[in-house]
Every structure is written in structure tokens, then in C-alpha cells.
Amino acid sequence: MSAGPASIRESISAGDRARLDRVWSDAPGFYGWLTAVNHKSIGKRYIITAFVFFLLGGLLAATMRLQLARPANPLIGPDRYNEIFTMHGTTMMFLFAVPVFEALGVYLVPLMVGTRNIAFPRLNAFSYWLYLFGGIFLYVMFARNMGPDVGWFAYPPLSGPQYGLAKRPDVWAQLITFTEVAALAISVEIIVTAFKLRAPGMSLNRIPVFVWAQVVTAFMVIFAMPAIMLASTSLILDRLVGTHFFTPQDGGDPLLWQHLFWFFGHPEVYIIFIPATGIVSTIVSTFSRRPIVGYLAIVLSLVSIAFMGFGLWVHHMFATGLPDLGASFFTAASIMIAIPSGVQIFCWIATMWSGRVSMRAPMLWVIGFFVVFVIGGLTGVMLAAVPLNLQVHDTFFVVAHFHYVLIGGAVFPLFGGMYYWFPKITGRLMHERLGVAHFWLFFIGFNLTFFPMHLLGLRGMPRRVYTYPPEMGWGALNLLATAGAFLMAAGVIVFLWNVAWSWRRGEVASDNPWDASTLEWATSSPPGPCNFPRRACSSPTKMRRS
């Protein structure tokens, strides 16, 4: 297939090419930088910004691990600790995990469907600036000791007018508005791009799985985010103008908040996980040198996860004393969602089984994803059972579970995706051996950090405590977890070094260094301003047969 795209590029005259580039590139200079609307410029900025927030969130996590490394540690007081864990959760959920996958979508979806820019490019730029200013706002307030301190879930009445300290919860609620508007804007762009701007010949059953994952995620965002915007706006109204949505003494209902929050909060997990599965499908298919096994089953799994994802939120609320029958329904739904996840896992294994696997860095991250995510999925099934949930809810067992799911299910594939698409974005390959070192440091560090947390949770260590008494006997495992966290950090430093080095000096990549079959590889690396000088076509022969 490499002959096809090359001929597309050569068949256009130099004059036409120059005119195309002029039309589609961003204006030069600082003004041009500010007014950029090309999806690749915005996408790159989005990815880099999200990674900066990932590093900040990681630093906060490392600080927490230092504080918890030994019992009764005097390093940080409860006030700052509460700010730190709230900032960590808020950063990772709202400023890193959701935006980074949307950013990949902004960069890749137009290329994968063979078009020249994302739909509504100005809205796209607006979304980026809104997100950036939201993030800066949050960190400026944190630096001024006004960072939110009521958890990333901000349960009232603790976050309400009576108990929320100073402007801290307002800062949180305002940030939510910034990031959610940004996310909603991208969702609309992705859906329109995927449904209206596809290259001729790309029928629905030929859309790459990654694009399907982005589309399904976008729909989830459109249905989930309004719930949290409604909730956070009501919270701000409670705090600033004295409404009574969540204040019990005035007839408000704190449980209403929990329902609204988790109606967003649980789908949020899948909003992060589904695009990551799109990356896994892409990498598994490319590095097994064959089309994915069970394309239809995988796409239907994504769609059914999206629907079911809206029916499990109450498993975050089992301890509130809801009726047993209702709780049982949510147990069944929470267990059921393991089925479509299982379908995908089996399809990926079948793809490798029947393919010819080459073990490059992206594939290594996918293997890591399998190991870690399957553990997280299984503890998820355990947590769905009410009696077990009531014991381990709000303990370190849950902390372990969702880091296995979110780091395993999202960050591992994301790193894989970075190694995979880096040559497309920069025109240079990342250093393979550094990638392998990054993987092993991060993988071992991750398991050292989070596996002991399962045990800590089972031994009764609650979440969100800034200290614990020595006689509880939790010290050794906590110290181990802290050591693991620093191994992970070392891995991330190797990654940063790899990015910085490869960006300037990495091996120059060909247009399609992995011999992949999706359309983004059918143009130059990095793609020119107009992506495809000639309109790209998708035909069945593009699917690799040998």
C-alpha cells in the first residue's frame, strides 16, 4: 500500500502544492501562533499541555507518597494534604486523562478519516484556550493556597456554603465549567468530523477502530458532562447566591449531588478508557500484521460499554444506605460491563494468536496494559458485590483498583500510542531502547506502588487520610508503595528525555514506519498543512492481506 499514497503526493503540481499549504497553514509569527486553527497545531499543543498537567499531578502524587511513607509523618499538615489530593484527582481526571485522549482525537481523527482539518476548527481552538486557562487558573489558585480541598468529588455539605473554606470549592466548581465546555466542544467536532468529513469509500464498517472509539467517547461526553456542569453550577449558586440545592437544613439534598456527580463520574471512567482501547486495537492490529479479529464485535462492545456505563453510577454510593433491591440492580449492571470488556480482550488475544507479532515499544506497552488492566478489571468485579464493597469502599483497595484500571487501562496504552504516533507527529522515531527502559521502570514501579495498596485496603487503611498511627502496622507496605512511586517517576523522566532527544535527533521516520493500514500513514511524516494534497480514498484493498 505504500505505493498508493506516494503517487497521491507526486501527482500534484508544485504550484498547487504551495497554494494548498498557504491556505491550510497557520499564519506566521506570534500572531499566527495565537490564531492557529489547524487541527495538528491545536492537537499538538493539547497533547503537550495535558502531559504538563500529568507531570504536575504526578508531582502531587509523589508528595502524598512521601507523606504516607511512614506513620505519623510530620511532613505535611492535613490542610495542605487535603488540597494536594484534591488537586491530584482533579488534575488527573479533568486536566490530563480526558483532555489527552481528546487531544489525540483532535490530531488523529481528521487524518484517519482522510480529511484536511477537523470540523469547526475555530471552536477547536476556543476549546484549547478555555482548557488552558482553566488549568492555569486552578494552579494559580493552588499556589496562592486557595486550591480546592474537598476531594475531586466535592461532596456537599463539606463543599457547601457552610463548611467549604474560603473560595476553595468555588475554584473547583469554576474549573469544572472550563474543562467541561472544552470537552463538549471537542466531542461535537469529532462526531461531525467522523460522520460528515470521511474520505470517499470509507463506509461505516471501514472506519478505523480508534475513530469509532473517539466517536463513542464523544457521545458519552455529550450525555455525561451536562450532569456535572449542572451539579457544579448548582453548587456555586448555593455558595454564592444562597440557593438550597444541597443544604439539608434548608430542605436541600446532599444525596442529589452524589447522584448527579456519579451519573457523570462513572461514565467518565469509560470516557477515559474507551479511547485507550482504540489505541490498543490499533497497535495490536499493526504489530500483529493483520486486521483486527472481530472488528464488528469490538465496535459493538464499545457502543454497549457506552450505554451500560450510564447504568452503574450507584456502585459508588452503596454505603449511603440505598434500598437493597436497587443496589442489587447496580451490582448486576456493574458485573455485566465486564462482558464487553472481555470481548475486546479476547479479540485482541485472537489477533495476536493468528498474526505475526513484532515486539516493538508500542506493543510492549500493550502487553503491560493487558497484565495491569485485567487485574483492575477483576478487582472491579469484586467491588461490584455489595457485601465486599461495603468493606473495602473508601479504602486503599479502591485506590489500588482504580489506578490499575486507569493507569493500566489508559496510561499504558497512551504511552504505547505516544511511541506509535510520535514518528507521524514529529517525523522522527522514538529511541527504542529508552522506550523499553521506560516501560520496565514504569511497569515495575507501578506494581510496587499499587499492588500493596490492595493489601492495605483489606487491612483497613482508609483513603484520604494524611496520616495513620504507627500501631496499625501499615508502615512497611506504605514505604514499599512510596519506593515504587519513585521508580515510576524515574520511568517518566526517561520518557521525557526520550521525547526531547528523539524530537531533535531521533532516527528519521518514513511515511509509514510501522507498515500500518490506517490513513494517517498514507501521508507524509509529519503531515503537511493540508494533510492530504489529493483527497484521500479508502478502498478495501487498503486492508493489508499479506
Binding site: 437544613q249 464485535a297 479476547f346 493468528s354 478487582t379 473508601d394 483497613g460
Partner: protein, 292 residues
């Protein structure tokens, strides 16, 4: 459940390993129709097995839930627990008002009898959790929730607030002492009684300090004129093992330090520091430590 999950993990990892080994060895990907249909069958079988296992787990979960929730009995001891930032208020219910008892942070229960805890909160959401005795139940302002538990062996069980409730969330530990029925009855009777009258000069002086300083604005000592309900009931404070919801062991020295500056050991809690003359402080501690 753990066993089932471990087996599933091992099976999936096994399949992954075999797939990788096969995939690395094979020269050409097998993509003909027959191979694809074999793969589809394999995936179908794996999914079916998954569904069967999940159904098994679902039913096991329901059966356990029924067993845990069906501890209802008519002879239950009912205790009202009210959550505060950052301590637990406890009332033993009784039809006769003079047989009710009030205490804080440490409750006693009889072994082998079901206990029902009726839970609510005065400020923010807390969650009552004694890992060895029961699961969690949230204390939500405006709601009353309930949870059943039963201790089969005597002992002192440490608990923990399990819902993030602000700055002192880490220092909010309830203690449950499970003891034999007769011991429990004696304990309850002593808790019902009004406070012990001061017997020495120092204790009498201490009582005066208590009643005339800011202490009485927040605390109750039944049998005296102090009847405020902002802080914990101190009628039988000396009978408790710890101060400030499990923060300090209940000794004279800790008590004195705590009264002088509660923020040394539990920073940012809601009790204000008190500057008392040395003699007054000693007398106050002597009085409080006499309230068995």
C-alpha cells in the same frame, strides 16, 4: 471470589503468553476465512465462559448480601450515632427516658446480640466503619441510615471514619468494646447515671473551673449545670480509653495538654485553646479524671 478471579487472571495471561509466543514464531499471519471463523468460535467460547463465571459471582454476591442484611432480631440493642466534625456522639435508646445513656467515640456492645446503629450527621457526611464488625454506612445530614452488626468475640475493635469529612478526617476513630452481657449491663448502668460528685478539694475546685470557664459553653456533664451539646458529653470521660476520637490515650498528662492547646495533637480541630492558670488546669484535670 479471590480464587475465581485468580484463576481467570492466570487463564487470560496464559492465553496472552501462548498468543505472543505463537505470534512471534509464525511466519505469515493466518487471515483466511477458515482461520478467522475458528478464531471467532474461540472468542465466542471465551465470552460464554466469562458470562457463566460472572453469573456465578453475581449469585454468590446476592446470597452473601442477604446473609449480611438479614441479621434482624427483636432483641437488638439500638444505638443512635451522630457524626460531628470530628467525633462521634452516641445515644443508647430506651423507651424510658431515664434509662437512656449518652457517650462519645467509644461504645460498648454485648457479645452475641445484634446491634442496630441508627446513623445521622449534624454537619457534613461521615461514614461509620469498624472493619472487623461491619461494612460502612454513611452518616448523611438530613437522613437517618441504619446498619446491623454483631460481635461474636469479646474485644476492643477500632473503627475509622470512612467518608472524607474535612481536615481531621484521619483522626476520627470510633472504638467498639464487645463484652459479655453482664459486663455490658453494668457498663450501661454506670453510663446512665449522672456524674460523680467531686470528693476532694482539688476536684471541687476543678468543677468550679469547668462551670465558670468556656468549657461549659460546649460540653455537658450531667448532674451539673453544664448542658451544652456542641462538643462530646463528658459525664463519664474518665471511663473512656482515649481522648479526641482515638487521637491520644486518656491520661492526666494528655488531658492537660489537650485542654491547653488541642491543636498540638489534632491541628485545626474545632476546640479552642484555653489559657488557664496552672493551679486551675491541674484542678480541672483532677476533676475530669475523676468522672468514671
Amino acid at each position: 471470589m479471590l480464587i475465581v478471579c485468580t484463576v481467570v487472571f492466570v487463564l487470560v495471561m496464559g492465553a496472552l503468553t501462548v498468543a505472543l509466543v505463537r505470534g512471534r514464531r509464525s511466519r505469515l499471519p493466518a487471515t483466511d476465512a477458515a482461520a478467522d471463523s475458528r478464531l471467532h468460535t474461540a472468542v465466542g467460547i471465551a465470552v460464554t465462559a466469562t458470562i457463566v463465571v460472572l453469573f456465578g459471582l453475581l449469585i454468590a454476591s446476592f446470597i452473601t448480601q442477604r446473609a449480611v442484611e438479614s441479621l434482624h432480631a427483636s432483641s437488638a440493642v439500638t444505638i443512635d450515632i451522630i457524626g460531628h466534625q470530628w467525633w462521634w456522639e452516641a445515644h443508647y435508646e430506651d423507651a424510658q427516658p431515664d434509662r437512656r445513656a449518652t457517650t462519645a467515640n467509644e461504645i460498648h456492645i454485648p457479645v452475641g446480640r445484634p446491634i442496630v446503629l441508627k446513623l445521622t450527621s449534624r454537619d457534613v457526611i461521615h461514614s461509620f466503619w469498624v472493619p472487623s464488625l461491619d461494612g460502612k454506612r454513611d452518616l448523611i445530614p438530613g437522613y437517618t441510615t441504619a446498619i446491623w452488626m454483631q460481635a461474636d468475640r469479646p474485644g476492643v475493635y477500632r473503627g475509622q471514619c470512612a467518608e472524607f469529612c474535612g481536615r481531621r478526617h484521619a483522626n476520627m476513630a470510633p472504638f467498639v468494646t464487645a463484652e459479655h452481657e453482664d459486663q455490658f449491663d453494668r457498663w450501661l448502668a454506670s453510663q446512665r447515671a449522672a456524674s460523680r460528685a467531686p470528693s476532694t478539694e482539688a476536684e471541687r475546685h476543678g468543677q468550679q473551673v469547668f462551670l465558670t470557664s468556656s468549657c461549659a459553653l460546649c460540653h455537658t456533664i450531667r448532674g451539673t449545670s453544664a448542658s451544652a451539646t456542641v462538643g462530646p458529653d463528658l459525664t463519664h470521660i474518665a471511663s473512656r480509653g482515649s481522648l479526641a476520637a482515638g487521637t491520644l490515650a486518656n491520661t492526666r498528662e494528655h488531658m492537660a495538654r489537650w485542654i491547653e492547646d488541642p491543636h498540638v495533637n489534632k491541628p485545626l480541630n474545632q476546640m479552642p485553646p484555653n489559657s488557664l492558670a496552672g493551679g486551675d488546669l491541674n484542678a480541672l484535670v483532677a476533676y475530669l479524671e475523676s468522672l468514671r
